[in-house]
Symmetry: C2
Subunit: 320 residues, 2 copies
């Protein structure tokens, strides 16, 4: 593949100040680039036909994709590419890539931090402090705890490795065998009941696809320990929300840490806000630093210009 | 040293139910032991003269020590032995030992957990959740953060190692050179200003002695970064409380995590309760699990019976 020289690069993100920041980062690194920085849909409409490359977050107005007559490559800013895939509007000759490797470290910190927040009873500790109450609470340790990582892609594998270093037993589940040396055991998808039954914390790091949507439902909550916590840092629709709420109400699991939801922001009247044993964070587990993402894009752009294979290629049929 | 066979072991802890639990643990392990389980001072008074060995927490009524005519060995349940030392009432032929090695792991979890609680802005996150407020806060990561461990005994060394595994830069300060391979740099006591100036988190793991009391005062807060946090998991009097409060008020440091205080429980009217950027926990960073402590005592008891050197010997002149 011989890439067109001086391609038009359309940059979009749903927060305006980020678009300026991406433009500056790219132009600072490469003076020769033609950046079409778009903050709103009407700007995209004016520029989409000219675009050779699209560098965008997952809230891109997908309905405009069919107008991208010159488009050759989409670099997603997000590791979750389900919005692109589900639109079914990516022209068949267009390559889709997603960032790899940069989320693992921050997401591992999120998982470790909130596992410790649960074991050390931090929520109640902070409440007690607000009430000036000195009450030594029961605290627990990482020792003898098992964490189950569902989905062993680059994020899941990184989290597993970090937890292993901390002395936890880590087990994994994936549709393919990964043979990761820091896992105590790997389960195939058919072994999900056993995998869930062994885990004190179940961490979801699976991409959202047609086959993973709603993968955690009533049956899966039944398989989990009553003392277990669910941690979802991937995508809300992986979990059947009604089944989750029912499981929490019935004490079928001990609690949950949720960073992602079916609807974001989580509506004010949503019942999940009310559970004492649920920690809700506003989709911050894998913050995308523009500096990191711009670097990934520029490296891939160089490969593209040299006709090399791009990093983070998405199989559009598989969905990840 | 030929130890007396069938010694009388006086067991004391300031919480009654723990005394029963210790008695049960020891008797379950060894049917031949004579346990004098004491829950109150008057019980100690009746039994202290008979005691060959004292296995006790640091709230033992020290004024009774001179009556312990037969005492040969005190096994402290606490890693902090300053109450024993300061009483100056330990008969000169009595050995004092403290538990070693069992606190490091739990204290490392405390330090990692609360560093992440700060970086991930958990206190505010939980507040927002209570108000059903979806507000993506700025969160930070462990990368490029430096933790300074003051005191490289077994607890400090263990914490340093764990933090190193997590990818943090760890520096240490101690009065003796330890040459720990996982430290980026070791500072002597004279290098404290530089040590403090480099640390994003300063963790106190020094024993409380005459020379360390008040070791963190106004001058030391001046040396710290304005963005730094102090974490005290050792003993309250290491820190000059007035200087700490002044530093917090003036923004000379960014905050603190405090598990120990001059007065415990921390009085209701104490100003430290009121700082948003201070996390207060009720002396729980190194919970002493009776199971672990009983095991340590029994192992040392075996050594004692065999005339071997005991583990965790305290140098009463040094104070640790």
């Amino acid at each position: 593949m011989k890439a067109k020289s001086n391609p038009n690069i359309l940059v979009y993100y749903h927060k305006e100040k980020y678009v300026d920041w991406y433009k500056e980062l790219l132009e600072r690194a490469r003076k020769d680039l033609t950046i079409l920085a778009c903050k709103e849909k009407n700007q995209i409409e004016k520029n989409i036909e000219k675009a050779d490359i699209l560098f965008s977050g997952h809230r891109f107005p997908m309905e405009l994709l069919p107008r991208a007559k010159n488009l050759k490559w989409i670099q997603s800013m997000s590791a979750g590419v389900e919005n692109f895939i589900r639109s079914k509007l990516i022209p068949s000759n267009v390559i889709l890539t997603k960032p790899k490797g940069i989320f693992g470290s921050l997401m591992a910190e999120y998982v470790i931090g909130y596992i410790l927040a649960i074991l050390k009873n931090m929520k109640k500790t902070f409440e007690n402090q607000a009430n000036k109450l000195w009450e030594p609470l029961e605290v627990d340790g990482l020792q003898h705890k098992t964490v189950g990582i569902m989905g062993l892609g680059s994020v899941g594998a990184h989290i597993a490795y970090r937890l292993h270093l901390l002395g936890l037993e880590v087990i994994g589940l994936d549709e393919q065998e990964r043979n990761l040396p820091y896992l105590a055991k790997e389960y195939p998808v058919e072994g999900m009941d056993n995998f869930l039954g062994k885990s004190d914390f179940v961490v979801l790091t699976v991409p959202l696809t047609e086959s993973t949507e709603g993968i955690i439902g009533e049956k899966q909550f039944m398989s989990m320990k009553e003392s277990a916590h669910l941690i979802n840092i991937s995508r809300g629709p992986l979990v059947q929300e009604k089944a989750l709420i029912k499981s929490l109400q019935k004490g079928m699991i001990a609690g949950a840490v949720l960073d992602v939801f079916n609807e974001e922001p989580l509506p004010k009247d949503h019942p999940l806000w009310n559970f004492k044993n649920v920690i809700i964070t506003p989709h911050i587990s894998g913050p995308s630093l523009p500096e990191d993402l711009a670097k990934i894009f520029l490296e891939n752009l160089k490969r593209w210009e040299e006709g090399k294979k791009l990093e983070g290629m998405v199989d559009i049929h598989k969905g990840y």
